[in-house]
């Protein structure tokens, strides 16, 4: 893991974050660090609060307690769209592409943060990563298959030239072969460009194999953390998330 853990100060630091839905505490004081050049994954079962943490980092809902620091800046109270302008890109849960706009237009929407300065080269980069998108360029987003939509969501996020890419369950509802393609693409981005990736996943096996480090979230608290492969070997993790669930 050559690129990992180079700087002392983390790129993204989540410190004791508590998030509530009404009176229900969804995150009970979560600490997560993401260092520059790392792939960090957050795994956990349904309802553990994975997506809530992801959305809290993006300011929706807001953390009621605790702090979120990005490159040393406190972004806990910043509006979502301003957070996006700090070059954090998100591929939200359920992909949320624009269904009636074409693939090209979807990608264009992603580039608006970057003011279209590197539009052509970024487009080329996305097409090299996901050649399928190039074939579908004038098709509407809503007519794509699930896997293609996920590629489009990641491609759209990449068009903003992010320094930190946050992916919420990119494997959701996809065929194993497509999941592998998408995870390969993430690994490729990290290796060649040193892109920092924060990956929220239920597919623990693939996520931990891919990631440098991982966190296990249970009922709104981080119960375990460590290097990806090390977590993969732990009997508790195997028992809870992997046995019988390996695909």
């Amino acid at each position: 893991m050559s690129a990992a853990v180079t700087s002392s100060e983390p790129m993204l630091a989540v410190r004791g974050v508590k998030t509530f839905y009404g009176n229900i505490m969804a995150l009970k004081g979560v600490d997560v660090d993401v260092h520059r050049g790392e792939i960090v994954t957050l795994i956990g079962s349904n309802g553990a609060g994975k997506s809530t943490l992801m959305m809290t980092i993006f300011g929706q809902p807001r953390a009621r307690e605790g702090q979120i620091l990005y490159e040393g800046r406190d972004i806990t109270r910043m509006p979502t769209h301003e957070i996006a302008h700090l070059k954090i890109a998100q591929s939200p849960e359920g992909r949320r592409i624009f269904p009636r706009m074409t693939v090209f237009e979807n990608l264009q929407m992603g580039a608006s943060i970057d003011n279209f300065e590197h539009f052509d080269s970024d487009l080329e980069r996305v097409f090299t990563l996901f050649p399928r998108l190039k074939e579908r360029i004038s098709q509407r987003g809503g007519t794509l298959s699930g896997g293609e939509q996920q590629m489009l969501a990641i491609g759209r996020a990449l068009m903003s030239r992010p320094r930190l890419l946050m992916l919420d369950e990119p494997s959701l509802g996809l065929a194993p072969l497509i999941v592998k393609q998408i995870f390969d693409a993430i690994r490729e981005l990290n290796r060649t460009e040193g892109l920092t990736v924060f990956l929220v996943e239920q597919n623990a096996f693939h996520a931990l194999k891919l990631a440098h480090r991982g966190y296990v979230l249970v009922n709104g608290s981080v119960t375990m953390s460590g290097e990806g492969r090390e977590l993969l070997e732990r009997p508790e993790v195997r028992a809870a998330y992997l046995e019988g669930g390996r695909h």
């Binding site: 993006f58 890109a89 998100q90 009636r100 074409t102 090209f104 987003g141």
Partner: protein, 479 residues
């Protein structure tokens, strides 16, 4: 199949099961339902006899209508809905669709050319300037609704914000012009500097931008409280807003003249030259014989220009980041935010832009009618404009234009239903059935073209080749 063996003669035309008994039964039931519905609705008519309200009975009309319905249902059951009919091949587009596709590149220029030449055609067709008055008036009405449709299309079609109170901005525009143009202090101010008749002659041209600006401002004012609302809730609040504006106009008598409205609003001028019969009038200056139709034809071109400006602006905006942001907002608000779009600004800009065009149209309405009152700005107008946008296909310019022409033109056509008297007798008033036929047309369009007349959407950006993709395969964005 037991029926087949028992009554072989009952089988219709060889293959399949007999359909005639079933069809007869169905037609009979339909007849009963029609009788039940039409009996009270059509069978009774309120009439005034010696100053008192009385009831007249029209069994013949009911019988004819029920007969038409039963026969129609029977024929449909035996032909189009017959189970023995071979299923229609789904693959490929129908000849009609292909035909439309083939003429579509020429359609827009042809429509534009027709719109520009319309006053001349109308004059030629009817054989004189004053004879064409009705047609040109109708043209102005249709174009006003085309413009309102295009304006609302920005809010509803592009940004996906369901606005049921669009008439409010129409009213703001109309009252802006009416109040400013009839205001004595403003008139005195300009009379002191630029001469007595200056304000009366130039009011429209000065007030037009002001009306747009005011309406846009009100669009923003409405936009702020509804920022967090979407879908049904937004619709209810905008509906209330439309009503509030109307009620304020009725009740603020000192300022707006209340229910009596504002009369004798200065007429439109040819950029300062009034359309009068006098020495310095339009006709005299251009060496024409005076005709009151000059003003009307000029108004026709003014509203045509305003509508085209609306369309052109919308097309341009769609290609700019703000227009794309509107469309993205319609598709998915959360994704928009995570892509760094400030959804507050996007929504407010959509409301303001749409309202601005509503304001322009309102200003035009005031100058055309010369009189405004709250009566002209009821919910019906909002509903009509929204229907035009939805029927035309949300987001489609040409669809909205066609829908406006069909709706407003069609409503006018339905005024001339004299032929119905031949069927139902002389006591029959066809104009009363306008709304019924109109409703039928709406239902028909919603069944066969549920996404509006033009449901494809041109991409704002494309590589090499431009392709319009049909909307029928894609589900709507999340409401």
């Amino acid at each position: 199949m037991a029926v087949d063996t028992a009554h072989p003669a009952g089988a219709v035309a060889g293959s399949g099961s007999p359909i005639l008994p079933g069809a007869l039964k169905d037609a009979f039931l339909t007849g009963l339902i029609a009788l039940g519905l039409l009996g009270p609705l059509v069978g009774f008519e309120t009439v005034v006899i010696d100053g008192a309200l009385g009831l007249a009975y029209r069994p013949l009309v009911v019988a004819i209508m029920v007969g038409i319905i039963v026969a129609g249902r029977l024929i449909l059951n035996l032909t189009v809905w017959s189970p023995n009919r071979p299923p229609k091949a789904q693959a490929g587009s129908s000849p009609v669709a292909r035909g439309i596709l083939a003429i579509s590149p020429a359609f827009k220029p042809a429509l534009l050319a027709f719109a520009v030449g319309f006053p001349f055609f109308a004059t030629l067709m009817t054989g004189g300037l004053s004879e064409s008055r009705y047609l040109i008036d109708l043209g102005i009405l249709i174009l006003t609704y085309v413009m309102l449709g295009w304006g609302l299309n920005i809010v509803v079609g592009l940004a996906g914000l369901l606005d049921l109170g669009y008439v409010a901005f129409y009213a703001v525009g109309a009252y802006t012009y009416a109040l400013l143009a009839t205001s004595a202090p403003v008139n005195d101010f300009f009379a002191a500097i630029l001469g007595e008749t200056f304000w009366a002659n130039w009011a429209f041209w000065f007030c037009l931008p002001a009306a747009g600006a005011f309406a846009g401002l009100w669009g923003m004012i409405l936009g702020f409280p509804v920022l967090r609302l979407r879908g049904d809730y937004l619709a209810i609040v905008t509906l209330a807003f439309g009503e509030i504006i109307r009620l304020v106009l009725i009740n603020w008598v000192d300022f707006t003249g209340g229910g009596a409205g504002i009369a004798s609003i200065p007429r439109a001028t040819f950029f300062g030259i009034p359309f009068t019969a006098g020495e310095d009038g339009f006709a005299a200056l251009f060496g024409l014989e005076f005709s009151p139709m000059h003003r009307l034809i000029f108004l026709y071109f003014v509203i045509l220009a305003l509508a085209l400006i609306t369309a052109f602006t919308t097309v341009r905006l769609r290609r700019l980041p703000v227009g794309r942001a509107w469309e993205a907002l319609r598709e998915d608000e959360i994704a928009c935010r995570s892509l760094g779009l400030n959804t507050t600004n996007v929504k407010l800009s959509a409301f303001a832009t749409g309202a601005m065009f509503g304001g322009f149209a309102g200003c035009f309405f005031a100058v055309r009618a010369g009189f405004v009152s709250p009566e002209s700005f009821t919910f019906d107008i909002s509903a009509m404009i929204l229907a035009i946008v939805v029927l035309g296909g949300m987001g489609s310019q040409i669809g909205v234009a066609v829908a406006a022409a069909v709706m407003m033109g069609g409503m006018e056509m339905l005024r001339n239903l004299g032929f119905l008297k031949q069927i139902f007798g002389d006591g029959f008033d066809p104009s009363l059935y306008r709304m019924l036929l109109f409703g039928f047309a709406m239902v028909a369009i919603m069944i066969w073209k549920p996404r509006g007349l033009v449901s494809s959407r041109d991409p704002t950006i494309y590589l090499k080749e431009k392709k319009a993709v049909s909307g029928s395969l894609v589900k709507e964005g999340h409401g």
